[in-house]
Amino acid sequence: MKIIQILRSRGVEVIITENARKEIERFRDAHVSQALSADERSGVIFFGGFQDKRAAGLAFHHVAILKEEDIMKDVISAYNHAKSKSDMIFASSSPSKSADIEGKLIFGMHGPKKFTVIVEVRK
């Protein structure tokens, strides 16, 4: 899956598993969201719901559970797939970052410093 390399290259922790529930145990302090879909090409991951959006924005560590079958071939399909399941769609693709001070890249500007994606593959 191309999306895995893409996410990793950008500082996202990716875990591949057949059982996401088991993995979540390790992230008690993080905010965990169920991803609605993802764009294979860009690694953008869609979520939904106002409360989840706030919590995901405030968290220091955001964890997404992404099902393999929700990975779409492009961003438009991914967005429409997400829209069919929820309202208030939002998307993340990396930890929060900024390069506003002399172009120096720092992570965890206002949002999560850490972003983990658990990809749940079919058994």
């Binding site: 939002f90 930890p95 900024s98 172009g103 949002g111």
Partner: protein
């Protein structure tokens, strides 16, 4: 400071060139790896020009959709009206958190809300630095590019934020701003793209400040200049994708697709301010990625000081002509054509700058 001051100073030049070096190869690589973005760019340009041909229709449609969804909607013909509407929504004695927005600069929103007795914070790191320094954004997307790390260190001391390097300063700002986010009464944002189909406001970012500014406060005001209107969600999404690619931060860390939430009051102010009747209509296809600014030789020397009061550089020449008046400094363009060459919307800025010159000389 005028353009001659900028030439002497040198720090603008350093900042622009540094930013260009950091971003130019990334942009080219993105476009190479994601060739479909060029198609998106074309589609977005065409859609924007189509909307610009019949603004009245699209504005009506947008306002209707928003009202149906329970939003408060306004149409402001000019900057002053937009300011006043926002001022009424906010009132006084409030804490306001703002996402960076050139359109809010255009209507001087921060200054106005402050004058009403509100505490107003720019939450984007670069824009926050500019606010504390009491300066103007030097670039559309990277507003504080003309400051060195050491200068930022000095500037932030004014608000009690200390740190020895970018990392520490940023975490100081995070802490400082977290408190504001949590107590904010009102959140204000601009809009990168608006869907007339569903009334959704699309905003991209990397820091996470927009997500917090627009979802935590109970009252949310979105400022939408009318050229941001696109027929549907898909085009709006394509537009923000293209924008982030041409900024050099693809994909955006965050895409916010804001809409009315049950627990939040949402106000949308549409701003015309010269757009509907401008003779520079082609420029309404500008997605404000700022790439033409970094690539322009005059901008490389003078930053946004080459421009009007708010907008600078090649795109800023035209935005100034649309929203203020034709800037006489348009005569400093070399018409080298680089802006058009790198523009995702293939906008003929040199042609429009010639037109501006013609208008200025005719007025003699």
């Amino acid at each position: 400071m005028n353009i001659y001051g900028a030439l002497e100073q040198g720090s603008i030049r350093e900042g622009v060139l540094r930013t260009l070096m950091n971003l130019r190869d990334v942009i080219l690589k993105t476009l190479n790896d994601h060739p479909y973005l060029l198609e998106y760019a074309d589609e977005v340009r065409n859609a924007k020009l189509r909307v610009a041909e019949d603004f009245d229709y699209w504005i009506d449609r947008s306002m209707e959709v928003l009202e149906k969804r329970g939003c408060h909607v306004y149409l402001a013909e000019n900057a002053e009206k937009a300011r006043r509407i926002a001022g009424e929504m906010v009132g006084s004695g409030k804490t306001v958190v703002k996402a960076k927005s050139m359109v809010s600069e255009e209507i001087r929103l921060r200054e106005y809300l402050q004058s009403l007795g509100n505490e107003v914070w720019e939450t984007d790191l670069g824009e926050f630095i500019v606010q504390v320094a009491d300066d103007r954004p030097m670039h559309m997307i990277v507003p504080a590019l003309h400051y060195s790390e050491a200068q930022v260190m000095e500037i932030l001391k004014k608000v009690g934020i200390h740190g020895r390097d970018a990392e520490e300063l940023a975490s100081g700002v995070r802490e400082f701003m977290r408190e504001k986010f949590l107590k904010a009464d009102v959140g204000v944002s601009g809009c990168n793209a608006f869907s007339a189909e569903t009334g959704r406001v699309f905003l991209v970012e990397n820091e996470g400040n927009i997500r917090l500014s627009t979802s935590l406060p109970e009252r949310y005001i979105a400022l939408v200049s009318i050229e941001k209107i696109l027929p549907d969600d898909d085009l709006a999404l394509k537009s923000v994708f293209v924008q982030s690619a041409y900024v050099g931060t693809f994909p955006p860390a965050y895409i916010n697709i804001n809409e009315k939430a049950d627990s939040q009051e949402m106000h949308v102010i549409f701003l015309d301010n010269g757009r509907k009747t401008t003779e520079f209509r082609e420029h309404l296809a500008c997605i404000k990625c700022g790439r033409c600014q970094l690539e322009c030789p005059v901008f490389q020397l003078a930053g946004s000081l080459w421009g009007g009061e708010v907008y600078g550089g090649p795109t800023g020449m035209v935005w100034t002509a649309i929203t203020e008046e034709i800037p006489e400094v348009c005569f400093l363009s070399t018409l080298c054509g680089k802006c058009r060459e790198v523009c995702p919307s293939d906008i003929d800025m040199p042609g429009m700058i010639r037109k501006m010159r013609e208008i200025i000389l005719k007025a003699r």
